[in-house]
Point group: C2
Chain length 272, copies 2
């Protein structure tokens, strides 16, 4: 049985709750950290949201999420860079050590050009992040999102991207959902650890069949991902941060969220 | 404008037509080849089905599909090996030079063990294929199918698998739908060509959003895949075989299939 010392939840995992409710419920359940989605702190503002979480004894693990650098029009790309710079200030106000980046994709931008736009966007915000002391955690997304969400689709690619920009403020978010199928995964986790680029670790599970490509993630233990195997590699790579449960699921959002939270805590103890 | 000399269709692309109708319609439309799904020749039997296609001037490009080597129970795995051996005989009767292999996956078999089972299954059927002069064309499937259809998910992995079994009867099927997102794709296509392992090339397109993970493939030109770019790499790797249109689509199957066929021919001319 895993204890809860490293358990964090993404606010979106219990989407029906507002931030205040989520923070109180997480604390009662023994959860130790929270990753806060933009939508969740909009009402309070970043600074108050961060204080609220910390006053309940929760660690603010990350701000979720920036990026989305890809667009056919230069003006829109510039606007997105500006939005990311604003987000860096919000992360500092929130007290989040890093921002999770979903790098972007667009149906009208060929994948090679899209990857170039991602590198360009990152380069334009990096100095701002360094100045604020906020790190940027590129999340490789499952290849099924390469047409509309992110053209960075493997851990290897994400690490190559980090290396190409050579800043210690740049690293990766590893989410088992996106990478579990990759036969090079364990080696790349070791590479990420050796390069001090493993900033965040997300867990959930992969159901078969998926009812929906976006909002049908599984709870740990109900799918086919070897979570303990990946966890062992992540531990072995020297990662000692929070283990974050990030689950988008219409099925689970429709439950009583107190019941859902207790299921999460139980699944974490048994399957992570 | 591309001419039709290398255009082949998978029988399932026009699923509402039986084989006899499909063969006649393809010939009228100027299609030169056909890949025949098992379901499509069941009624006639493999030998008659092959004769029917050839008598209409169509080249039989491949038999689709074998594989499915992964299962938690040894007895069931053995039964699947036997089914593949039977399929090899059917490919010979059909006059198909190769069988497309979807290697299998299972929700209860961890991915490493599943990959071991695939190699074992292939090894057990390889001698039969060599004896019959039928080649086996491993198709890497999109990572979104790693939980239920195939644990061979990149061209690189498929080629590694071929190399590990070292037989010239073993090669790969490249379908743009499964591999378009892969940043190592072009290099791996060159590798496949250099090793004489590029047996088949399938085209379609990737729509965003997908309405269904299985049966919502796009027609060439309506999605985000750089088909001409991949085609150029395939040509450059020395592939001179048929270019096969394989589209599973409830949307297109619901059309008048004559209209659908003319759309395919037009899209092939313009976007391949």
């Amino acid at each position: 049985m895993e204890n809860l010392d490293r358990l964090a939840l993404h606010s979106i995992t219990t989407k029906p709750w507002n931030l205040e409710t989520a923070v109180g419920k997480y604390r009662e359940a023994g959860v130790r950290g929270i990753s806060i989605w933009r939508e969740a702190y909009e009402e309070l503002g970043a600074e108050k949201a961060g204080k609220l979480a910390r006053s309940a004894g929760l660690t603010v693990v990350s701000l979720v999420r920036g990026g989305f650098f890809v667009h056919p029009e230069r003006g829109e790309r510039r606007a997105r860079v500006e939005a990311n710079i604003e987000l860096i200030h919000e992360a500092a106000a929130l007290g989040a050590p890093h921002i999770v980046l979903v790098c972007g994709a667009h149906r009208s931008v060929r994948i090679d050009e899209a990857r170039r736009q991602v590198a360009e966007g990152l380069e334009q915000i990096l100095a701002h992040a360094e100045k604020e002391g906020v790190r940027l955690a590129v999340e490789p997304l499952h290849p099924m999102y390469a047409g509309d969400r992110s053209v960075i689709n493997t851990l290897s690619e994400a690490l190559d991207l980090c290396d190409s920009l050579s800043s210690s403020s740049l690293g990766v978010t590893l989410d088992v959902y996106h990478v579990w199928w990759d036969s090079s995964l364990l080696g790349q986790i070791a590479r990420a650890g050796a390069a001090s680029r493993l900033f965040a670790f997300h867990v959930c599970d992969w159901k078969t069949p998926l009812e929906d490509m976006l909002e049908d993630r599984g709870l740990m233990g109900e799918g086919c991902i070897d979570i303990p195997g990946i966890r062992a590699a992540v531990d072995g790579a020297g990662f000692s941060g929070m283990i974050e449960v990030e689950i988008f699921s219409r099925r689970f959002w429709a439950l009583d969220q107190d019941v859902w939270l207790s299921k999460i805590v139980d699944a974490y103890r048994r399957h992570v």
